[in-house]
């Protein structure tokens, strides 16, 4: 792209003024054009109610599954009396751990610790002890209420303090740990130490030490998790609202002892994922039940059960920061506790991967980061949009504000002074990906939009903060593109489209490369028997990883077309060029359809291209690989705080994301704004509150756990992008989708301080916390 049609500051007029208006931009009549806001593929199905999610699927002869839980955080399981329950008409079976093959299979993406059903003791409120299978959901529910489980309440570990107390009971059975596990007698799952330089020897003019906490929140995808399983021609088929169908396929194969080729996972587009649908929850149990009973089985979680299945870790971050008088960072000494639940799920990775970048996007000469992943008798914590990075930004950005106040520096200025420039290392000495964007540009644009430095009325304040997230460190995406003989194309890709718009952007890439409109591209996803392997849909990777695989597949098709043209028309391959489906050779120009007709004749045929994009494992790297790119964003917010109530009114809010290239600007804006609003929920209102005795989530359900509605939005909101085409994905794209929430909390907290002078170091910033801080201020 020439500088003329792409201003060097990355400004895109339709975006920089605020939200794009969403018109379909169809230069040359083709809405596949990269950089145009093509309408969502699958959009019509979604506005007409025709889109089928897992809970909408009907299987003949299906049995309904309901799970039996105890009202306690931790209990020793005694006799399970199912006699009365089994007399409920329509009940076929009541299955407990004793009825499963022994030892009961355990699973988990990092640690195989979670049993299919609780054995011996339950370890969190909501852990199932039995599964009821019945002909109707009513019968299954009634029977589940009648299952009587003798049990003895046991003391539970519910907080970081308790998890670190060596007198506390152990969450994880010692026999699940290796004999050489140094944490065998503790509630530490594992720990890490990252860093560079020598913090002990580092000197600073000022040292700031603080502790920040961030509550556990839940995903609240509007679609509760749903699962089906059925015997399938000597194997098993599983339907799940899952982000990682191929990880699930492998898990099911391992659990039931079948080859991958006999396990078919259908992954209908999830109704929102946000990380909560990455890893299996009840699919292995359902597969075992379906094969045991020989009939299809169905389990759709209630929203309450979904809360008990997915949440983020609780974080406590102690941070000691050294600053020089000019505002430059001298060192960071950080101590992080991440409280997971009873089983690891992917929570340990959330804690380690986010902590790795706990110093932020800054130039830090010396760093020491000590990290613990702790276990507790609470629902397993898992990935949630941002993967721990927003919590890290909460700490390191709040420290920047502390330093600015102490040193009398402007909050914008101190950030610009420390921000790493393009090509500078942020994590030093490990050969990691250096700063891969002009990050200061994002910060300046956010500051411009919010009117940094302009006078404000009393009680109003502004804040600004940055955030960074390491994207995928490893990955493997494969795609097949079939150019059919009428010139339309089918893309087979294993990505999950959970609302981020993967189908649309992959169709755009294929359409752009093959020179066909988006209406002539079909994207087939959600069936492991149809689409080739994709490691996972996470870490904002799909545009970069699967997008590149699709691009490469299309380019393989172009190569094949050149060879076909050479053979068919008797010209040298080197003399054939292909651009967007047009085949040019000396004295002749045909389109791909004509070439295919001439080459294949009446028997017809198709041209198949394959492509892949891998990021391979690096054994010696602490995270197993270097970030493919960073998601960097800057948030600026303007608020008014009510001194009487502590309530925060959001006046203006902007996110600026460094996306490399917005392949579909409307989709990028939707992702960014959605992330920002989720971030505002986590900042101001969302927290899971655990009962201190039963471990039950007290605000279990939509009535008591509030997420933002249309009435909680900032009065004015904008999503801006920086596009320097410097990403590793197609056309210079980086991933996005998480960036909008990386720095929400510190930006809003900074604005609150600017407005009324209080500092709150615990998330969420509830009116009560702000009100109490105002009272202390006097």
């Amino acid at each position: 792209m020439s500088p003329a049609d792409h201003p060097p500051d990355g400004r895109r007029e339709e975006v920089s003024g605020g939200r794009p208006r969403g018109e379909v931009d169809t230069p040359n009549g083709r809405d596949t054009t990269i950089g145009s806001s093509a309408r969502r593929v699958g959009g019509i199905e979604r506005v007409t109610g025709a889109q089928q999610y897992v809970a909408d699927l009907r299987l003949d002869d299906v049995l309904h599954v309901t799970l039996v839980h105890l009202n306690s955080a931790r209990a020793r399981i005694g006799e399970i009396d199912a006699a009365e329950a089994s007399r409920v008409p329509g009940v076929l079976a009541i299955v407990t751990a004793d009825d499963l093959p022994q030892p009961v299979a355990r699973f988990g993406p990092g640690y195989r610790d979670r049993p299919l059903l609780a054995t011996a003791e339950t370890k969190y409120h909501g852990e199932p002890v039995a599964a009821v299978l019945a002909e109707t959901l009513d019968a299954a529910r009634e029977a589940a209420r009648l299952v009587s489980v003798a049990h003895e309440e046991l003391p539970a570990v519910l907080s970081i303090a308790a998890a670190r107390d060596e007198r506390s009971p152990l969450v994880r059975d010692p026999e699940l740990r290796g004999a050489d596990d140094p944490f065998r007698g503790t509630n530490t799952l594992t720990e890490w130490q990252f860093g560079w330089g020598d913090v002990g020897a580092a000197t600073a003019d000022h040292v700031i030490q603080q502790r920040y906490t961030a509550a556990s929140t839940t995903h609240f995808a509007i679609e509760p998790h749903g699962f089906l399983a059925a015997p399938d021609r000597g194997g098993v088929a599983v339907w799940s609202s899952i982000q990682h169908p191929y990880v699930l396929q492998r898990l099911i194969a391992d659990t039931v002892g079948l080859p991958l080729a006999r396990v078919r996972v259908f992954a209908p587009d999830p109704g929102g994922g946000f990380g909560g649908k990455q890893h299996a929850k009840y699919e292995p149990l359902l597969a075992v039940l379906a094969l045991k009973i020989g009939r299809p089985v169905r389990l759709v979680l209630t929203l309450e059960e979904t809360f008990q299945a997915v949440r983020s870790p609780t974080f406590e971050i102690g941070i000691r920061s050294g600053f020089m008088s000019d505002g430059s960072i001298a060192f960071q000494d950080i101590d992080i506790d991440g409280l997971l639940g009873a089983y690891a799920d992917i929570g340990h990775r959330v804690v380690s991967k986010s902590s790795y970048l706990a110093c932020g996007p800054y130039r830090v000469p010396d760093a020491r980061i000590k990290v613990r992943a702790l276990l507790s008798h609470t629902p397993p914590a898992t990935a949630l949009r941002g993967f721990g990075s927003p919590q890290m930004a909460w700490a390191f950005e709040s420290q920047m504000d502390e330093a600015a106040r102490l040193l009398g520096l402007d909050r914008l200025e101190i950030r610009l002074r420390n921000l790493a420039g393009r090509g500078e290392e942020i994590v030093r000495g490990a050969g990691d990906t250096p700063a891969d964007g002009d990050w200061a540009e994002s910060v300046r644009r956010a500051a411009d939009w919010i009117g940094w430095g302009d006078p404000l009325p009393d009680g109003h304040g502004r804040g600004i903060a940055v955030g960074i997230k390491s994207s995928a460190t490893t990955g493997a995406s494969y795609a097949i593109v079939r150019l059919l003989h009428d010139g339309s194309a089918t893309v087979l890709a294993g990505t999950s489209d959970m609302g981020q718009g993967a189908r649309t952007v992959l169709a755009q890439i294929a359409g752009h490369e093959l020179g066909i409109p988006i209406e002539r591209v079909a994207v087939v996803m959600g069936d492991t028997a149809a689409a080739p392997y994709d490691m996972q849909t996470s870490a904002s990777r799909s545009t970069v990883f699967m997008g590149t695989a699709v691009l490469n597949a299309c380019r393989e098709i172009a190569e094949k077309l050149r060879e076909m043209a050479s053979e068919t028309y008797g010209v040298a391959t080197d003399d054939v060029t292909i651009t967007a489906g047009v085949v040019r050779m000396p004295g002749r120009e045909v389109d791909a359809v004509e070439l295919i007709a001439d080459a294949f004749g009446p028997m017809l045929g198709e041209v198949i291209g394959t492509g892949s994009r891998r990021g391979d494992h690096i054994a010696e790297h602490p995270l197993g690989g270097h970030a493919a790119f960073y998601e960097f964003s800057c948030t600026a917010s303007e608020v008014a705080v009510d001194r009487e109530t502590g309530e925060v009114e959001l006046l203006r809010h902007v996110t600026v994301s460094d996306v490399g290239k917005a392949l579909n600007p409307a989709h990028v804006a939707m992702q960014d704004e959605g992330a920002a609003v989720m971030g505002l929920g986590q900042t101001l209102m969302e927290q899971l509150i655990f009962d201190e005795t039963t471990g039950r989530i007290q605000n279990l359900g939509a009535l008591d756990y509030r997420i933002p509605t249309t009435k909680d939005l900032p009065l004015e909101m904008a999503s801006l992008v920086v596009e320097n085409e410097d990403g590793p994905g197609p056309y210079g794209a980086k991933g996005t989708g998480e960036s909008g929430l990386l720095s929400t909390a510190p930006a809003v907290a900074s604005a609150v301080h600017d407005a009324v002078g209080v500092v709150v170091r615990d998330l969420p910033l509830t009116p009560e916390r702000i009100w109490r801080a105002l009272r202390e201020l006097g």
Binding site: V24, S37, V47, A221, M670, G674, T709, T710
Partner: protein, 165 residues
Amino acid sequence: MAADTLAVSFVVNGRNRTIEVGVHRTLLDVLRDELGLTGSKECCAEGECGACTVLLDGDGINACLMLAVEADGRAVTTIEGLGADGTLSRIQDAFLAAGGVQCGFCIPGMVMSAEALLSRQARATPTEIREALSGNLCRCGGYNQICDAVAAAGSAEGGPAEDRA
């Protein structure tokens, strides 16, 4: 378990239906499980998320909070009942054009709430739109495109409505 049942006669998407339903079954259960109309979604099942919003005699209601038998003699419109002959309603089309659709799970309920609003008030102000959609939760987006879509659909008949200061 012999559940008590009652016959319910109602008009669903313009069609007269009489079916025998369990007295404890919600309207949402019956629409989804008995009539195969799965466009209305279940999320919270307690009237907080709006994913199950349908029109009852033209008013938007949470189908999860109403027993099916209570709908006897009433007219129910679900997302499947909008548009005609394969065309989209103005609101559905506006949702697509404004880019308000992401995962889509909340969208049927959003569209029905918008239909309820615009059927009683063709041109709604931004504040009225936010109020009318405040019972419909979306977790993917920032709501703005959805509100824009409703404003665009509403203003198609006249100029855009504005908030009065």
